[in-house]
Amino acid sequence: MSLFRCKSLSQKLCFYHWIDWRKLCSYVPPDIQKGLSASQRASTNFLSVDNNKPVDKEYIRNFSIIAHVDHGKSTLADRLLQFTGTIAPEKFRDQYLDNMDIERERGITIKMRATRLWYRSKDGSCYLLNLIDTPGHVDFSYEVSRSLAAVEGCLLVVDASQGVQAQTIANVDLALENNLEIVPVLNKVDLATAEPDKVCQEISQVIGIDASRAVRASAKFGIGVEEILEEIVHLIPPPQGQVDAPLQALIFDSYFDPYRGVVVFIRVRNGEIRTGMKVKFMATGVEHVVEQVGILTPDEVVRTSGVLSCGEVGFIKAGIKSLHDAPVGDTITGCDNPTQSPLKGYKPAKSMVFCGLYPADSSVLFENLRSALEKLSLNDSSISFQPESSSVLGKGFRVGFLGMLHMEVVKERLKREYELELLTSAPSVVYKFRNLKGEYFMESNPSKIPNDARHFEEPYVKLDIVCPDQYNGTILDLCQNHRASLEDMRYVSKGRILLKFLIPLAEVLTNFYDQVKSRTRGFGSMDYEFHSYRSSDLVKLDIAVAGDVVEGLSCVVHRDQAYSKGKEIIEKLKKYIPRHQFKVVLQAMISAKVIASDFIQPLRKDVLAKCYGGDVSRKKKLLERQKEGKEKLRQLGKVRLSPEAFAAVVAQKF
């Protein structure tokens, strides 16, 4: 980071130096003017740009950046913004497009962002580049697929030292599905460990695209940025579509602003959209009058001309009150001259991971949680939730997430933005099962699965792991322990392999990713996507504490793992549950048959040995303290335990 700062400073210094020099001479020789760096060309250009005018679509390039997490996507976006003078130097900060607190803290991109860049290419014409930055983490691959539907090409950023990684492959597959032009970029060539030639070979071999022309760049030091822009201009085709055709605009994102209502981000495919126009959202059938149209620079700038033309990316505001009226992936068309066919949308994001969210103490009302979740889901349509009540945790919600990181991010946002302290139950997936009568059910909450449930089916995912081949054995071993079946195994390049597995999603949810990382000394990467439901020999494991089945502790496990899992939970409970006046028996059961059990000895000694004249008030204080501690305890069946232990036990985070 500091290195980068030095570099940008020196760039700036060069620039100012040049200005000073010009001032001193008060004369600019023509050859120096000709030699103006591209950034000055672009920024001078930028100043003269009229944002209000639609741009000829021949000079528009819509693209996004895809890469494995941490391969430098957002940094490259930063450089593009800087190089084209989109952002004034004094306003610039690293990871400019990541503006959520959590994004900036964790250095990840969660939400995609769109912005436009002006670039005068070496051939002298001025191009409008619409950049859509995408998240890199597995959980948010859905966001990637949305942004890819709105562009004609993409930059494929590959770390020149790490090579092709699991998500690189997954993202390229997505891009190919959308028939996008892929511009390969080798990033971080400045690193001592960079092996650009080897990586080029990897790209050609694994992904099957010609990488010989790949730009060798370093986003950190701003190397190769101009070449990348040139490649974008020349390789990525201009948008197709007719200005005079009926309006077709794809919604690729939207968010809810409490003051302005829903703001919809669109890519106009055909025709044009104007202020005052009556438009129809084809999937929902809702009609609205467009109130404002604008572009993203990346700030939202309203176009006074009120037109967004074919090929352009921008936003509209149409007095929409709910995100559900304008679902992402829907097509907008004009009411007067409607199109016959909607654009190919995409499937709504499906929640893969579910967990119960409950107020941590009764002072946080259930209603507060409800309104917080509602507000949050306005901005994050991939959250699903429904009320749920548990005898252990009280009233709360069962919330669906895209993945574990998504779950963490949502919890963090609820905590920060709405100041809610929450208890979470152990995450689980949606199981399909039949009851005795043969009826099908789907349920994610293990405690709601009846004891007569049979013929379980669980979601499987396609898992890709890329790692150095010396870790092959340990990864195979890990996956075997997690009920994965190996589907394919091949070399990405000399010494690195790609392993493809089918694995139950539930197995990936625990600390699988950490395991992959630690077993490969950090060199392995993984990516997964939903494959299908498959039948599994699953059983519901109940945990009884002091004779009562505690519903919050039930879980669904594979029959072979039932004993070890039951033993594990019981051991952890034993660690957390304090001694009581009675012997606490802990049992793990499969439909009332005990498979593992243990007990906690009763409390033996709780007495103050000495109590003379001076000790009376002290003893009273001690008892009062003990009582206050007792009041804070949470009930788990017949036993009581401290809030911390309780949270750990119900979340089964041990």
Binding site: R579, Q581, Q601, L603, R604, K605, D606, V607, L608, A609, K610, C611, Y612, G613, G614, V616, S617, K619, K620, K621, L622, L623, E624, Q626, K627, K630
Partner: protein, 457 residues
């Protein structure tokens, strides 16, 4: 005599009536006429509730034990003796003259207790000074119990004889353990040899009422080592024996070093086993287990300590000493110099201690906490008479599950009514805190009263 008694009666009547009413209105407890009556009837009993016991704290020690958090001045501190005793005498005189002025006739003292610290470090002349200053104002009963704590290694035969000559008739010997490694580990200033020597010396000097202190639950102390100490103690044939389970206090070296129930301290189960062994073995040898940690041969129970557990009043003198007079529970400063300042202030206030009186509710809590430490427990009848039917019923109801689980011993009259509750030995004693909390929670600490309680403290 007669007139003074009437005056006294009148005073206590007004006094108790007002405290009771203010307390109850604040507490929002339903106030019934019966209750008023009981307050009136109580006056007669209370008028004689002037202290008949004195506790005197002598803080000097050769060294401070690692588990001790009493107010103690360790090391050579003989230069303080004169000054300290003179302040104690001043405190005694100003306090007792205040009581004398107020009540004219003070009841005879039944117990005097010199605790510490190590009172046996003091030259007997100082003890004599203190006793004389007490006798200036107050008569000693003919059967007064005069106890001094004496630690092995701090006295010889001549000193023991001097104490005996002063009228000291009971000695509590701080033995703690007969295991030399343990004694050293606890920072005691004596070894086991000195224990035997001290014991013989005291017997030779003529003492016929000796008490012996032992500790259980010490670091690295196994059940075997503890059993050995108990047997050795029994072989000395003491009249009285106290056996304390180690209490970890945060401010002490032990408190900083160890965690309760974690090695090297014995586990909860081991410590409980030690307690149970002591209880069974000593009862077998004819001791009465009359309080959680105290055992005595019949007729040799500590009269002084029972004053505390019966929640009766007592005087207290010296640093950190607590007194309970006129329903005021007051702890003196723990630092020598602030104690001196406090005594000077006390003299300016003519010996009256400034301290809020205990509310009726607090008294009830104390009675319960203290009473249940004793084998005899609490008489439901008396409890009801003093603190009202409602509270007594709540306590009885809360006690029921414990009676069923065998932790509380309930004594019933022939009508099947509960008359007395006491903790079972040893199961109930071992869980005393948990039992007390559950009883108090459902009675005196219910929501409205606990709020009041907090506001007070």
């Amino acid at each position: 005599m007669n007139s003074s008694k009437t005056r006294q009666l009148a005073w206590t009547f007004i006094h108790h009536f007002t405290t009771a009413t203010t307390h109850m209105t604040r507490c929002k407890l339903p106030m019934s006429y019966e209750k008023l009556e009981y307050v009136n009837s109580k006056v007669e009993n209370r008028s004689y509730a002037l202290p008949k016991s004195v506790y005197i704290h002598i803080p000097f020690c050769i060294r401070k034990c690692f588990y001790c958090d009493f107010a103690v001045i360790a090391g050579d501190s003989s230069h303080w003796y004169d000054n300290y005793i003179s302040y104690i005498v001043r405190e005694i005189e100003s306090t007792l003259s205040y009581f004398k002025r107020k009540y004219q006739k003070l009841p005879d003292l039944e117990t005097v207790y010199f605790g510490g610290g190590t009172p046996s470090l003091l030259p007997t002349i100082y003890i004599q000074q203190i006793l004389l200053s007490l006798q200036k104002y107050i008569n000693f009963a003919s059967d007064v119990e005069l106890t001094v704590e004496m630690d092995p290694g701090t006295f010889d035969l001549s000193k023991a004889r001097e104490f005996f000559a002063l009228g000291v008739n009971r000695v509590s010997v701080g033995v703690q353990s007969f295991d030399d490694t343990l004694l050293q580990l606890c920072g005691r200033s004596h070894n086991s040899k000195e224990i035997y020597y001290a014991w013989d010396t005291l017997r030779t000097a003529g003492f016929t009422n000796l008490s012996l202190d032992l500790m259980s639950g010490l670091p690295n102390q196994s059940l075997e080592v503890f059993k050995d100490s108990i047997e050795k103690a029994i072989s000395l044939d003491p009249e009285h024996l106290s056996c304390y389970d180690l209490i970890l206090e945060g401010s002490t070296p032990f408190g900083k070093k160890y965690q309760s129930g974690v090695y090297p301290l014995p586990s909860e189960d081991e410590a409980a086993a030690m307690y149970i062994f002591a209880s069974c073995r000593l009862r077998e040898r004819g001791f009465e287990h009359y309080e959680v940690s105290n055992y005595g041969k019949p007729k040799y129970l500590s009269k002084h300590n029972q004053v505390y557990w019966k929640n009766q009043s007592y005087y207290g003198f010296g640093i950190s000493a607590t007194s309970y007079t006129e329903m005021k529970r007051f702890s003196r400063p723990r630092k020598l110099l602030s104690y001196f300042d406090w005594v000077k202030r006390l003299e300016m206030q003519n010996g009256e201690v400034e301290c809020p009186e205990e509310s009726l509710q607090e008294q009830a809590v104390d009675t319960l906490i203290l009473g249940l430490r004793m084998k005899q427990g609490i008489s439901i009848d008396e409890f009801e008479k003093q603190y009202g039917q409602q509270v007594s019923w709540q306590v009885m109801e809360a006690a029921q599950p414990w009676i069923e689980s065998g932790h509380i011993l309930g004594k019933y009259n022939c009508n099947g009514q509960l008359q007395r509750i006491a903790l079972q030995d040893p199961n109930g004693f071992l869980l005393q805190n948990s039992i007390l909390i559950s009883l108090l929670e459902k009675s005196l600490w219910n929501k409205s009263s606990s709020k009041y309680h907090k506001a007070q403290s």
